[in-house]
Symmetry: C2
DNA sequence: GGTATACTTGATACAAAATATCAGTAAAGG
DNA sequence: CCTTTACTGATATTTTGTATCAAGTATACC
């Protein structure tokens, strides 16, 4: 069992919810998905190993994980919601408005900013999401050629 | 006509799309909605004044505005996507995992961070979204009392 | 101002995604 | 092992979003 998955399952138990086989399988699949996946794709992954697990349970588990702050649904391009793992602190995305490509980046100096805000509002931050929207290098060139 | 709406409509024209009555009405309603609204609610608002405008057109206009980077769909609690206006540079949200309250804050020192990233990736940033997830003051107290 | 053209619109039908329900099942605590 | 209560999963249903296509309208050109 993955350590990351274990951590999330503990969080579930600590909040008074039960540790079930379905939840174990779903959380494990979620962690293995690298943290970017739709509910339906996650359901498919889970059912490869445990075919008896229903779609509904996957949706419900994701809802629970949202409530616990483990996961956050976002739109990525078009179609269904993508769930991203927030348990590791944060996500940093560069999102191109034209090609909808998502690039991830690391950036820790943002931490300073957050600390400041947290103090001001007396808010207990558990994770964050920073999205920078615009045009990636390639799409920007196309634009300027028109 | 609102200046903000005017600016968005200009952006539409500058990108080779037409300035139509439907788009004017939709953009105006969007700006008046304070920038947090679902597609269907927006359609309702638009149709109060212009009942002939179809739901489909609202969806299509929002799609166009996404492409232009004017708007960004996010999940807020449950149900349909909420569209937030990105035209004024950025959004800064504090989102409580427990009560799902969304507080907005201003924070400009984040600009430095973004500049750095933009250079590194040669990415042309037009707007940004920074979400800090955790527990608000009130919910944090409830937690520690348990 | 009139006309041609291509873009835009809106009614309808359709597909996809998410939710409600409820009988059956399994986890936790004794 | 037994009881209680939360959880599950098949199904049906609602909600949300998309495809289609004839009719309409904005723009460019004359």
């Amino acid at each position: 069992m993955d350590r990351k998955a274990e951590k999330i399952l503990n969080r579930i138990v600590q909040n008074g919810y039960r540790r079930t086989n379905a939840r174990q399988a779903i959380v494990t699949a979620l962690v293995n998905s690298a943290g970017h996946i739709t509910a339906d794709d996650l359901a498919d992954n889970v059912r490869e190993k445990e075919p008896h697990i229903g779609r509904m349970t996957v949706y419900r588990t994701l809802e629970l994980l949202c409530e616990l702050g483990v996961v956050r649904p976002i739109f990525q391009g078009t179609g269904a919601a993508h769930y991203i793992l927030m348990d590791n602190g944060g996500h940093h995305h560069l999102i191109c408005n034209r090609c909808h490509n998502v690039m991830e980046f690391e950036e820790c100096s943002a931490a300073m900013v957050m600390e400041k805000v947290a103090k001001q509002f007396n808010f207990h931050i558990s994770s964050h999401l920073l999205e920078l929207h615009g045009l990636c290098e390639e799409c920007n060139e196309i634009s300027s050629h028109q």
